[in-house]
């Protein structure tokens, strides 16, 4: 080994505290990047391969009853490659020993062979045999939750009648990667089942002989999705078509992709924070090392080492530190990625779910960390290369301090505080970067807790204040308003109110948007429209109230006339007055008074959902009866959903908080410790002189640590602000679906502040120990 390399290794040993803290920061950044990127890529690849191999459809449509004879017309739509017609129906699964029934969906398989589209993957067992009317394939995750296996029997309630089914296999399908019964909030593995059965076995029960109520299509390459959808809607309209939609609106796909989008976004933000902190630390530590080794650098140059070889020597040092951090990060990231995949495995159902370690990702991670470190080192390296050896032989000229007009501010503080302030003022860049770095630690904590706070707030507002009903009953299609009366008449029901929702296409000039218009009763008390501040909003008479973001995007203001075309039932275009805008929390919506909407639609009073206020004792029986009504698509209980959500969040929240606390501590300790070490070594001569003069340890600690305290204190408000800003950006990545209000609880701010302060204190104490052992004579004896 060359002597210069030996020096390098020994220098690393000398700097071990700092090397360790920088390595940890780099490792965290690399680990998060690798974990998230590999999870993201693995899921994406798995999903795409699964979709392709199991022919996941591009377009989906539901209708009431379409005769089989219509199928050729669908096939003939230009741009359609494949068609699969199916029967779909909701079923209830009475679970023994539980008030709550699981819900499920029966999906028909062609009478022979496999489906042309949305094919099933059979984990164990076989397809139902044609002619065996009780055989079914069961969704694997449901079977696992309820300990069911091929050969087991299971009863379901279909159209009010109990049917015994025999499980012959466990299966998955690309349609149910995320399998939920229509309500993400109350998702729970094992609460939703899918049964695949031969068409002949169920058409009688569905009263759909010779017909279908669902069709899925695959497009030819280059075909226009919108044109095919329009075409399909026209064909299905006479048969009660509910409006076809593309893959982007397919619930499972939509959920999976928005989850992936969120993951990708975090893949960028979080590692960026770590690597900028790493760059900063490299900068601080290297700058100090250069200062300490000034005469060594000069000696090397005097001995005949070229500027570039001396520069390279220090670059090697930085590279080695980053290298160690990267290796650690790769190991940690691989492990974390596995953990992350484990979490997704519980939610996303794929035939195989493998955590693929893409070498490209590893390479990118290492490269990014190297680039950021070199960027951090650039300034010092330039200094090393440019250092004139003759000047470096001389002791450095004393740092120049100046008095300033601001001195009166510190005049009352005494000389120690003035030293602290002059030091801060002399290196404003260092102060700025340190403060920014520390504020990142605070920000990371706020970002993490922010999501939790906002969801909490949203849940509070939505579940406690907006949704005041005990039960909401959603129908498969709108029903005459008298259904409200019949539900009100059920045992235990105190109050019942109907809502009407109409999916529409809204047009204003060239701008067009699809959205849902909610018709709400004027005197209703069970469902209240609230704005982002949680205040009650009144819907103006006669007109349409639009989400402000939507109005802005479409260039619509109050008083404008817009064109509205329902996507269900009679699709005639109508004009409606925009009466105002509201900043609500639920994305792109429209609101009208129920009667005004009915008038606009030109229909008899209809409702899509009925809200009930119910005597708690009567709930189980009511639930059972509602599930058995064929017209009912969804029964939701806000209170139960809230409870379930809180339960599921509890564990995840704790895990997330722990991970974030770890990361924030890595950053805070990294910065405070390194700054303190650097300050100590730069100023040990001053501090020793002060001790010789008669200052106490506590007093000289104050000079050193006062600076750090100020950095930490300054970083807190900045970090809290940045965290709130970044959290806001993360949450509003999909404002069209969900607009979360920017809410950060005081607890979060206190928490972020305390964790950062504790990490700072810990690192300060580490350095304080060194300060206590300062060798007074030794420091003063050596040449500066």
């Amino acid at each position: 080994m060359r002597s210069l390399d030996r020096k390098l290794i020994r220098d690393l040993g000398q700097l071990k505290g700092q090397v360790l803290t920088i390595c940890l920061v780099v490792a965290s950044g690399v680990a998060v990047f690798i974990a998230m990127q590999t999870a993201y890529r693995s899921i994406l690849l798995t999903k795409d391969a699964y979709y392709a191999s199991h022919r996941f459809a591009d377009i989906f449509a539901y209708a009431r009853r379409v005769p089989d004879s219509i199928e050729p017309q669908i096939r003939d739509i230009p741009g359609v490659a494949q068609v699969q017609t199916r029967l779909l129906s909701r079923v209830r699964i009475p679970l023994t020993g539980s008030d709550h029934a699981a819900t499920g969906q029966i999906v028909s398989l062609p009478d022979h062979g496999r489906p042309a589209l949305n094919d099933v993957f059979i984990r164990v067992g076989r397809l139902p045999e044609p002619g065996r009317n009780d055989e079914c394939l069961l969704l694997e995750s449901f079977a696992q939750s309820h300990h069911l296996a091929p050969g087991d029997a299971l009863s379901v309630v279909l159209n009010g009648r109990i049917r015994e089914l025999r499980v012959v296999g466990l299966a998955l399908s690309p349609e149910y990667v995320f399998a939920f019964g229509g309500d993400v909030m109350s998702y729970e593995p094992g609460s939703f089942a899918v049964f695949w059965m031969r068409k002949a076995a169920i058409e009688a029960g569905f009263q759909l002989q010779g017909a279908f109520n669902n069709v899925v299509l695959r497009l030819q390459g280059g075909a226009s999705k919108d044109e095919v959808i329009d075409h399909l809607d026209t064909i299905l309209e006479p048969f009660g078509g509910f409006g076809a939609f593309g893959r982007d609106k397919q619930p499972s796909h939509h959920f999976v992709t928005s989850e992936l989008d969120g993951l990708r976004m975090q893949t960028i933000i979080i590692p960026f924070i770590f690597l900028s902190v790493a760059a900063f630390l490299v900068n601080v530590v290297l700058a100090r090392l250069v200062q300490l080794q000034r005469s060594q650098i000069a000696a090397l140059k005097a001995l005949g080492y070229s500027d570039s070889s001396v520069g390279l020597h220090y670059l090697k040092l930085v590279t080695l530190i980053i290298g160690i951090g990267s290796v650690l990060g790769v190991a940690l990231g691989t492990w974390l990625g596995g953990l992350l995949m484990g979490i997704y495995k519980d939610y996303f159902l794929f035939p195989s779910f493998e955590h693929r370690l893409d070498p490209e990702v590893l390479l990118i991670a290492v490269l990014i960390s190297l680039v950021s470190a070199v960027a951090g080192a650039a300034f010092s390296l330039r200094g090393i290369i440019r250092l004139p050896p003759a000047a470096a032989m001389q002791p450095e000229a004393p740092a120049s301090y100046k008095t300033s007009s601001l001195d009166w501010l510190t005049s009352w503080m005494g000389v120690l505080a003035r030293m602290v302030f002059r030091e801060l003022r002399r290196r404003p860049g260092r102060l700025l970067l340190s403060t920014m770095g520390l504020s990142m630690a605070v920000a990371i904590l706020v970002i993490g807790r922010f999501a939790i706070d906002s969801i909490d707030y949203l849940m509070d507002v939505q579940f406690e204040r907006a949704m005041r009903e005990d039960v909401s009953v959603g129908f498969r299609e709108p029903l005459p308003a008298r259904v409200v009366d019949s539900l009100r008449a059920m045992p235990g029901v105190h109050q019942a109110e109907g809502l009407r929702t109409v999916p529409v296409k809204l047009t204003k000039g060239a701008a067009a948007r699809e959205l849902v218009i909610n018709g709400m009763p004027v005197d209703g008390s069970l469902r209240v429209l609230l704005n982002q501040q949680g205040e009650k909003v009144r819907i103006p008479m006669g007109g349409l109230l639009l989400t402000d973001l939507l109005a802005e995007k479409m260039g619509v203001v109050a008083g404008d006339l817009v064109e509205l075309q329902p996507q269900q039932g009679e699709r005639r275009k109508r004009q409606v007055l925009v009466a105002g805008t509201v900043s609500d929390m639920l994305g792109m919506q429209g609101y009208m008074q129920l009667d005004a909407l009915r008038e606009l639609m030109g229909e008899d009073p209809m409702v899509s959902t009925v809200l009930l206020s119910v005597d708690p004792g009567a709930l189980p029986e009511l639930r059972r009866r509602l599930y058995d009504m064929p017209a009912v698509a969804l029964v939701q209980e806000p209170a139960a959903a809230r409870r379930l959500f809180d339960e599921q969040q509890g564990g995840a929240m704790l895990a997330m908080t722990l991970v974030l606390v770890f990361f924030a501590c890595v950053i805070a300790v990294g910065i405070v410790y390194n700054n303190a070490r650097v300050a100590l070594s730069m100023r040990s001569r001053d501090l020793a002189s002060m001790r010789v003069i008669g200052f106490t340890r506590g007093e000289i600690s104050m000079v050193l640590l006062g600076e750090l305290t100020i950095q930490v204190l300054l970083a807190m408000p900045i970090g809290m602000y940045l965290g709130t800003l970044a959290g806001d950006a993360l949450l509003s990545s999909d404002p069209e679906n969900f607009r979360m209000p920017a809410v950060v609880s005081n607890l979060t701010y206190v928490f972020a502040g305390l964790v950062t302060a504790a990490a700072g204190l810990f690192s300060a104490l580490l350095v304080r120990r060194k300060l206590d052992r300062l060798d007074l004579i030794g420091v003063l004896k050596t040449r500066e």
Partner: protein, 234 residues
């Protein structure tokens, strides 16, 4: 006599903090092959600046400096580096050893980049440290550290040895030992040597004594009789 190094009308201005310092104000000096020249003068008289310029560590603000037929005053940084690497050995008052390297490794630092170097062990043997090869600077006395620095300087078999107050930080006894080493190298290897010193007696071992005052050469005298280093007292 064959001139190895010659300086003509050298001026050097430094900017120290916020003031301009005239270190040299037009100095002309030549070193002959195998000569041992002592540079004496008060603090701030410009001795170190002159030495640094002769060693290619610095360039003059005005005037010219030549090593044999190479013009150092207009040389690029790379050329100066090559000049130092191939021809010059430096010894400093504060040794400037790398604290994280042992004596042997400190010398190896030079032998690894020199063209026809001695073995580090031989160089250390030459300065009487053959038994202290694997000691770190912190484990060596000041005199020993300075001898390692000299070993490091001569291990490349330089044409010119430049010593800036090599005994400045040493007590009398160790100082003499160091001077003996320098003397041996000058006499036995024939290395042209320039030596800065504060101490008039030390100058008696030199062929010539050049006195600087306030950035100018006040006198340049040859010693008729050389005092061996071992007999020097101060």
């Amino acid at each position: 006599m064959d001139k190895v190094l010659s300086a003509r009308d050298i001026t050097k201005v430094y900017r120290m903090g916020e003031v301009d310092v005239y270190a040299l104000r037009g100095v002309s000096l030549a070193l002959g092959a195998g000569e041992l020249v002592a540079l004496v003068g008060a603090s701030g008289s410009g001795k170190s600046t002159l030495l640094n310029i002769m060693g290619g560590l610095d360039i003059p603000s005005a005037g010219s400096i030549r090593y044999r037929d190479h013009d150092l005053s207009s040389a690029s940084e790379a050329e100066l580096t090559r000049y130092r690497r191939e021809h010059v050995g430096f010894v400093f008052q504060f040794y400037n050893l790398i604290p994280s390297l042992t004596a042997r490794e400190n010398v190896a630092l030079v032998t690894e980049i020199a063209e026809d170097p001695m073995r580090p062990e031989d160089a250390l043997e030459l300065v009487g440290l053959g038994t202290r090869l694997d000691h770190f600077p912190a484990q060596l006395s000041g005199g020993e550290q300075q001898r390692v620095a000299i070993a490091r300087a001569v291990a490349k078999r330089p044409d010119i040895l430049l010593c800036d107050e090599p005994t400045g930080a040493l007590d009398f006894h160790t100082g003499v030992k160091v001077l003996e080493v320098i003397e041996t190298i000058n006499r036995e290897l024939g290395t042209t040597t320039a030596l800065i010193t504060h101490n008039a007696p030390i100058a008696k071992m030199a062929n010539r004594v050049v006195t600087l005052v306030d950035g100018l050469i006040a006198s340049d005298e040859s010693n008729a009789e050389l005092t061996p280093a071992k007999d020097i007292r101060w």
